[in-house]
């Protein structure tokens, strides 16, 4: 008995793992989330190594037109863009997938550029825009959601109507309208200056249109927190509003924000692809998976690999981010098992 007490006592003295560490452990036990995370790491790594692939393996510049270029396929030198020689000799077809990493692995586009190299470079932009816009969106939404929920009253009324107005527009319609306007003139508001064609432009546009989608639930959460005893206690101790929001409210809504981050990254990446596909997202000379799908559309009958490859990249990354996002949610709030999980 005594021995038992002696063995328990040291355990009780050990500090319990913090909620973040516990969440991480739960996430690590979630097999699907881990597979998704591994897939994401692979995709990010491959995209990060795009210059290595283009420069050292494929020996190509994916941003320079190569319409009159040639390539060696199966020992024979062939034009990258081949003029049809059959029948009336109409049409020009880019070289198809060679499955040789050293030369047009996925074929060429209608400028004669290596599709694989462009896919990797395009992935960098797609991921960067998806992640940056999700981060910006979450920061703005957290700020506005906390302000609206904490102060209530006219601040809440004004901010909520602002969310309503943005929410009233179909999200893609709003994004297209903003893009069309800003793509010609750029964004110049006060100290913020973003040139037309800059990658920062789709980041800002996509972040803005999704702010209400994140801010709304956060506002609701803060309203619920406002009546909790610990918040009343903080007020009773004379803490300022800023301190209460920073020290008491923010830590409680942060897990929700963390859950939103991967989900919004996936959503924003899809939005970016859609906008780029419609030519109002990433602008030449930059590429993204959306622009590559657009490039491939004109070759859908003859070279479907371009569209399929870029579409698969978008799809797989979005699925991976969603599965990871679900895992993060389950890890942070084990009671909310909306879509299964660990």
């Amino acid at each position: 008995m005594t021995a038992a007490v002696e063995t328990v006592a040291p355990r009780a003295a050990r500090p319990s793992a913090g909620p973040w560490r516990q969440a991480l452990r739960r996430l690590a036990r979630n097999r699907s989330a881990m597979i998704a995370a591994a897939g994401l790491v692979l995709i990010v790594l491959a995209c990060a190594l795009a210059p290595v692939y283009a420069g050292s393996i494929a020996h190509t510049d994916p941003f320079t037109s190569n319409a009159s270029g040639t390539a060696v396929v199966n020992g024979a030198r062939v034009p990258v863009l081949a003029q049809s020689t059959e029948g009336l000799g109409l049409g020009v077809t880019p070289i198809g997938p060679t499955w040789n990493p050293g030369s047009f692995f996925l074929g060429a586009d209608n400028q004669g550029r290596d599709v694989m190299a462009r896919l990797l470079y395009g992935g960098r932009n797609s991921l960067m825009i998806g992640l940056s816009s999700a981060a910006l969106c979450c920061v703005l939404a957290t700020l506005l959601g906390v302000l609206a929920g904490y102060f209530g009253g006219w601040i809440d009324a004004v901010l909520s109507r602002f969310f309503d107005v943005i929410w009233a527009f179909p999200v893609y319609l709003l994004a297209i309208c903003l893009s069309v306007v800003l793509l010609t003139s750029g964004l110049h508001v006060g100290p913020i200056h973003i040139d037309a064609g800059s990658l920062a432009l789709p980041v800002v546009i996509i972040a803005l249109i999704y702010v209400p989608y994140v801010a709304r639930p956060l506002r609701g959460q803060v309203i619920a927190l406002r009546n909790k005893e610990f918040l009343h206690a903080a007020v009773g101790l004379g803490a300022s509003d800023l301190r209460i929001m920073r020290r008491e409210v923010l830590p409680n809504v942060l897990p929700t924000v963390v859950v939103f981050l991967p989900l919004m990254t996936a959503l924003n990446m899809l939005t970016e692809s859609a906008l780029s596909f419609l030519s109002v997202g990433v602008q030449s000379p930059d590429a993204s998976w959306g622009t590559i799908i657009n490039d491939g559309l004109a070759l859908l009958y003859t070279r479907p690999a371009i569209t399929i490859a870029a579409g698969l990249c978008v799809g797989l990354t979005a699925v991976a981010l969603n599965v990871l996002g679900d895992g993060v949610r389950d890890a942070l709030d084990p009671n909310a098992r909306l879509r299964g999980g660990a």
């Binding site: 037109s65 319409a67 009159s68 003029q83 059959e86 009336l88 109409l90 209608n110 400028q111 030449s284």
Partner: protein
Amino acid sequence: MKRITAIAGAALLAAGVAACSGGGDGAATSGAGTTGQTTQAAAGFQEQHKGGTLRLLAKAGDGTLDPHINYSNGQWQIFQALYDGLVSFRKVGGKAAYDIVPDLAKELPQVGADGKTYTFTLRTGVKFSNGDPVTVDDVVASFRRIFRISGPTSGTFYSGIVGAAECVKKPAGCTLDKGVVADAAANTVTINLVAPDSEFLQKLALPHAVVLPKGTPAKDQGTTPIPGTGPYKVESYNPNQLMKLVRNPNFTEWSRDAQPQGYPDEIDYNYGLTSEAAVTAVENGQADWIFDPLPADRLTEIGTSYEQQAHVNPLAAFWYIPVNVNLAPFDKPEARQALQWAFDKNALVKMFGGANLAQPACTILPPSFPGHADFCDFSQQDLAKAKQLVQQSGTAGQEVSIVVADDDVSKQIGEYARSVLEQIGYQAKVKVISTNIQFTYIQNSKNKVQLSVSQWYADYPAASNFLNVLLSCASYHPGSDSSINISGFCDKDADAKIAQAMKLDQTDPAASGKLWGEIDRELMQKGPIIPLFNPKQIDFVSKNVGNYQFHAQFHALLDQMWVK
């Protein structure tokens, strides 16, 4: 004119180009390049093929039905079966299509010794589709209407008519009482010009000068059909769904050269399908012809599996890069010449569909066009030389943007140009804007467009329609959306030579042709325009279609196709 847009008309209006001279021999936009089903001579009407419904497809209707206003390829093609002017281009395939033949006029006009008076005797017995006879009053009213509605070419093509200048200023009160004079007793109409114009008959053969009933309101009739004299009339028109043409019950063929009777009983022009879907419909025999350019990824399939149904013909047109000579870096002649060396035109031809659908352009005037001289001073791409010229000009490293429309070919050319500009030392970017506004946007000097991609299709076969319209001082209007001299090029010496060539054309077409060639070459050296390629037209018809004929001016003669 700019292809598939009515905006170009406004451009020409403000350009104020007094086109004179030209004529000459017809350009070789014949059926020589036609492949597949052979062009059949329009020797006589073949009764056994009369009947059936011809089914045409386009993404959308091409604007107003008013022939005095619409300035688009699509409607001009249809107007050939609906309306007539005093004279017309001969409605046959081949080189003869550029011949001017009498249409509502009994014969070609008597031209006064001073070259300023044209007297037409009207045919008798011709009726509009509403049953009213065509009279000299209708002719006079039609010419007035061109100005009263401020038609897109009233200030250019028809500005040489006496009284036209006042009509352009005050359209509502236009009478042209000294310019177009009718003699009802003699059944003649006399048109008086302020100066001789050897292109005048060609201008009269365009749809903007067709004869309409005198009671036609002096405002755009939009989707309301105006009675015409052609073999068909419009029964209904919804630009998003369908234009339905049926036989004009009051039509009797008066001249097979000018207005032959058509073969189908009905022509249905359906709108709304994408070009991909339209190709499939024609392949399946569900439609007979497509107006829109064919999708690039279907060309090989059409050229091999449907060889007999594809017809390829050269066009009097070119795609080009207007270079703004008033903005850095291309205000430097060396920088412009660098561009002439920078482009691999064979690569650009590939982007248009390959060597059988376009040919690299060395000159501003298309091959076989009046005044064309066979030279090629910038035949091969030479990037090293271009780079050296950029260095010499002291403009290396400057930012350059190229404004393109959002159609596939323009975007590809823009991307190619960006790549080339980067290679020769500039920081380049492409600005893609809607096709609906790009053409006017690039014309306005306020938009500070350095480079753009554009196209020019001849309104009629005359060298002035390219060189004078696109590059004369008179065509440059700073700050206007209607400044067809997109380059902003104004060179007094070049202008003087153009004027000389236009004058010479009235007396010595051969000498003027030679002079036009020299002007073309000089302008190429000065570099306000980089010609890219001369496109060809591909018509894809269903296997039901016979008697395909390509008209050099108005393209496929739709009502001459038979489906029975």
